[in-house]
Symmetry: C2
Subunit: 362 residues, 2 copies
DNA sequence: TACGATCGGGAAATCGGATTCCTTGTTTCC
DNA sequence: GGAAACAAGGAATCCGATTTCCCGATCGTA
């Protein structure tokens, strides 16, 4: 497979076509003024030799690399990966190649990668992060767009998911279904995703004359936390204690302290800050004999399908459209490269995905 | 942030240091013969100007790009992604950059990407796939290493997970725990991963004078299939029917047809072909009132932590070490670039991960 | 018919480093 | 003291394509 040394240069094509190298260049790039017959002859010679112009040489003379760097702080890539893929995909359309650089949370690695990208004279850089926390900008002599994690410098261009809009969609949906007693289960308390979602939820409820049916809960982003949160949440409402629906004690819970959501003031919906937490919550609700969504509606966030679809029932959730986010970042970057830079934070509208966890089988 | 036009050339450094450009090159690359004082002076000038040599120009004259292509057939990237990350990481160590190219199962896109990589004169290419099915090799004038999905041409270099070894580890583990009545639940029947794991399981059992406790089952790779498979598997053994452990009918199953694994000939372990399927299986076993691992031990495959750790109980499984696989592919590619190409398929030994689904809380 | 305009295509410069080859100036050794 | 060896650094060439400039041939028009 490796026909090493088979690299065809422009002079080879020129020789075969019986013209000069400059003529070949003009013929293949549709520039200059050449007879159509000459162009055709050159094209045929190029085809015959399988000539692929050396992008390195082209870059040198064009003074740009037609390459952009994708700098990902993340390693595992739960969130940054779709962004990277979306960006890569959009770049291809612009005839740009993508240099992948993963820093894995290590500032030293990041610095190293930045230098490498600068050395390669990339036309621009897209920086993505693991969370939506704002991050320090990088200092480089080419355009940069921050995706998912915005830059702390408001003069930089950033694209982030519109979490507030996502939560508004959820509240609107739940309110439309007549749910009034809504509880919130966040992820890690110090992360923007937990906080923004909570604050928006509270504001949206207030706009409808409602308030949270229970104090907000924070933990981590695991299914286990989702299960525990349900225990805490329902345990908290001692006034709701009733006999469980179908036989068998709730596995991990004190058997003498059984619950339900029947009666006035019962929680009729739980908004979880992520699909993973929501899935754990659904599992626990089911184990406690509560029906989702009949007794309690449940919503997730992220539309991570391996969670949202596998959950029983499948989750109503919010798709942040991370691929689109990456694509949008690429668009902004290409515009900046073309001399039309954007500034500030652009928020990408998310998409509500309705599934059985709020709608039942209907 | 974008100090455009601030690009420093070697002539700028030369001027500041009061030497010629060639001297700067020699000084910074530790070649030629120069007075140490001169080198120091040049280095200082370079530092002061923040000179980063243009990799494009360097590539042109070195006749190599110090770049390798990472061609991923996959889009979602459940498997190819860790491979890509592992490779990228190893390449950095070799001062190589990684060009990301995702084909998304589309031959046209793949062809397009291959041409782009050739145009960029990458030093080599690592090709990864979504599954372990052998794939057609690509035809390019530089070294190629196939990772995860091997090339159909045995002369090419490929690195794949050693599925047979993984299954041997599982059987050894289960047999060591005294399990004798082992069942197998595969994923999609036509995929190599399902088949190899089954065949190895059967062979290993035979080597111990055992055979499968039930006909092998095939479905897809979902949790739902794992749940169904458990139903089928236990339903299949009509001779095992006994009253369920704890009250409440098994949710989706015909209530008149209840089961257990008690008695001689009962299934005492289920080997699932993936963590996802195994997790579904665990859920169903628990719902049926069976204890894992007391009544039935369960094993998964992949060590996809979002599944294997979130499962109740957490899964004993096999880690294919995909990052290491990518790293190994990078090593082989670098060797090939340095003129020492490998041939044939190299199998990477996996790692057994023992968790509570076989060992209980011990 | 003659002169300028246009067309077609080649020669050469350019991009930014690396490298080879030379030219100096200094040592070394007989 | 003179030839050879060597150290230090500059000049020129090269990598492969693009692009500018320029020249010869053809064409149109007065």
């Amino acid at each position: 497979m490796t026909d090493r040394g088979a690299v065809v240069r422009i002079t080879d094509v020129a020789a075969l076509a019986g013209v000069s190298p400059s003529t070949v260049s003009k013929a293949l790039n549709d520039t200059g003024s050449l007879r159509e017959s000459t162009r055709a002859r050159v094209r045929e010679a190029a085809d015959r030799l399988g000539f692929v112009p050396d992008a390195t040489a082209r870059s040198l003379s064009a003074r740009r690399s037609f390459t952009v760097g994708l700098l990902s702080t993340d390693s595992a890539g739960r969130f940054s990966l779709p962004v990277v893929l979306g960006a890569e995909n959009a770049l291809v359309g612009g005839a740009l190649s993508a240099l992948l650089a993963t820093a894995r949370h290590d500032p030293v690695r990041e610095q190293h990668h930045v230098r490498a990208l600068v050395a390669r004279r990339v036309d621009g850089i897209i920086v993505t992060g693991r969370t939506t926390e704002p991050r320090e900008p990088i200092r480089v002599p080419m355009p940069v767009v921050y995706a998912f994690a915005p830059s702390t410098d408001s003069d930089d261009a950033s694209v982030v998911p519109d979490d507030a809009a996502g939560m508004r969609l959820l509240v609107e949906h739940l309110a439309g279904l007549g749910r009034r007693r809504i509880a919130y289960v966040g992820g890690r308390a110090e992360q923007a995703a937990s906080v923004v979602r909570h604050d928006t939820l509270v504001a949206e409820l207030a706009a409808r004359g409602l308030e949270l049916a229970a104090p907000p809960l924070y933990g981590d982003w695991s299914e286990q936390w989702g299960r525990r949160a349900v225990d805490v949440l329902l345990g908290h409402r001692r006034d709701l204690v009733v006999a469980p629906r179908s036989g068998g004690a709730p596995p991990d819970l004190d058997p003498g302290h059984q619950i339900s959501t029947a009666g006035p003031g019962a929680v009729d919906a739980i908004v979880f800050a992520s699909d993973q937490v929501a899935r754990g919550g659904c599992d626990r609700l089911r184990e406690l004999g509560l029906r989702v969504p009949d007794d309690v509606a449940v919503t997730g966030y992220d539309d991570w399908e391996v969670m949202s679809l596998a959950s029983r029932p499948p989750l109503t959730t919010v798709d942040m459209r991370l691929e689109r986010l990456g694509q949008r970042a690429a668009e902004l970057l290409i515009a900046a490269i073309d001399g039309d830079p954007a500034h500030g934070v652009e928020r990408l509208a998310p998409r509500l995905v309705v599934r059985a966890s709020t709608l039942g089988d209907g």
